[in-house]
Amino acid sequence: MHTVHTGETPDILLQLLSPEGMRLADADLDPWVAEVTGADLAALYQDMVVVRRIDAEATALQRQGELGLWPPLLGQEAAQIGSGRALRADDFVFSSYRENAVAWCRGIAPTDILRVWRGTAQSGWDPLVYRMATPSIIIGAQTLHATGWAMGAVFDGADSVAVAYFGDGATSEGDVSEALVFAASFQAPVVFFCQNNHWAISEPVGLQTRFGIAGRAPGFGIPSLRIDGNDVLAVMAATRLALNRARTGGGPTFIEAVTYRMGPHTTADDPTRYRPAAELEEWAKKDPILRLRRLLDSLGLFTPELESETQALADATAAELRAGCIGLPDPEPLTVLANVYATPHAGVDRQRAEYAAYLASFEPTGGKV
């Protein structure tokens, strides 16, 4: 039984794919990926390569001054693609700011993901169109939004599910504990998907918790799974299992996907100041893309065609991203005072009129002085 309800730190780690690319059996998870075909595996591989390329291109754009900041997901591709590809179109994602691969799975254009980091908008997309909320920068706040959305699904009799993405650092925030309490009390169809990437900027996961993260959830009345987050099949299986529980009235599930942030917290961070190089080397051996490639290879599915197609797709996506980023127009000045309220507000409307008049006073005079 893969349950965690003792007072001991959980050490069970569910896997379907070893770092060497060997397919492992797991009676609980296997049924949820039984129908995954070779083509599906190839598609997952392509997804992961492409989002890693998006990540690298965005980092380069930041270094070249085209983005103010970028939060890399390097190393977390399997955790995000495996879960993102398990979702149904009518599910709703409430994420943190690092879930760029989940956004990719939701069909959000990579250029739209960059808008907030280039500073042209506070939200890159319409959350209601893609059914993915504006990523939350306040740590953990989105877990409550996911829970409320899921409570509404119960009220509506819908079988769609909310998925809350957050990190190991967020588990220390009060909002996350409150979300677990509410989700359990109302048996809300929400999946708490925690990517334990081991570092919250410079703080190691051991500072956030003395006890394994997955071990906390049962204390709230929520069953949990601790899975290898660099194993795309285990992630997909666990997510499907949790989604199914939610859809069939089973309530919330907590997933701890154990992964590793191979890059900095953001492009403004310098992990060499706090992180031992040996740890990075250790995790490089567990790379999520490499292990799926090894599996494909062993199945005779890693063909030259797949390799070149994937490379072409990654190149094209990166080129589109770069052009799209540089082509993003600066917002019109008066939009600074737009949409503060949904309905007219005398105070803001007055300031907008005043600022419009001020700006107009600088307009070209057509040659007249």
């Binding site: 306040i138 409550l144 909310a162 909002d175 949409n339």
Partner: protein, 364 residues
Amino acid sequence: MSIETIRSAPATRANGSTPVPATPVPVTPVSPIEAALTDTKTLTLAKAINAGLRQSMLDDPKVVLLGEDIGALGGVFRVTIDLLAEFGPNRVVDTPLAESAIIGTAVGLAYRGYRPVCEIQFDGFIFPGFDQIVSQVARFHYRTQGALRMPITIRVPFGGGIGAAEHHSESPEAYFTHTSGLRVIAVSNPQDAYSLIRQAIASDDPVLFFEPKRRYHVAGPVTPQLGEPFESARVVAAGTDVTLIAYGALVTTATDAALAAADEGISVEVIDLRSLSPIDYAAVEASVRKTGRLVVTHEAARSGGLGGEIIAEVTERCFDYLEAAPVRVTGFDIPYPAAKLESHHLPDLDRMLDGVDRVLGRRR
């Protein structure tokens, strides 16, 4: 398979007791009535809000109430009394004791098209939910360039004068008027309580709705009409010598002060702001241009309070009409004091009259 095996939540607690599931209390449906209020009735302010909530819930199935003790108990002030029985536990939701979650889950419900009405049990308990209000609720419409609306009403019993323990008598309105994206309402009488709670719930913007808890049991006539737009101020008593601006519980005190001043031959115009964001400066300005003298009163601390903001705005708009420096009659810049000291802290009729005297140059 695993669906059962991962049900790892313990069936019993450490002491062997079985956890009580969070099942809703049994409800007895009452016979449906078409409208909460069909003609003019005398209602207390608390009952008027109850009628307004009820009408809003009848009008729109997406209106849901969230809060602590709002179900079987009907709220600690009984404002939500009988609503659980009529609308059931999916629309009158007794929540666990976590204010951030009350607001945060309301955000998620708003994502689904709901119009949540959150009850914060007492003014002093709003701060655990402050981050969700100022960082999330207030900003989503702006953040998403209008794609996402947050039609959330947050009801807050506010103000002192009931001899309560600490954290039960606060006036936190200025924190919220300082936060753009929020509308802020403070009602003073049963009619406005009924009309404005309905307008607040119908608004596509988030509204902080402050209820004067020491006036909850004051009764007055209430008609079913929605009345004037909720951002408009109301002239409670017309006057020509001094403009006295109040909101919430102090509107009654200010009106009494105007009557007392009239005995001395001073004509005080009392304005009930009703809306604290936006403020109806057209009404304020019209009054000050007439009287030339302005007193603003509130229970909240003076520094950084609404009084200073109103006086600054009036000074910018009609400085030439002012006959004297405006005056603030407010709570002191102190944490809320013990019950036996609150009468010193709260503006009362005599302090308001003292303010009127000062703006008239009759005292220093």
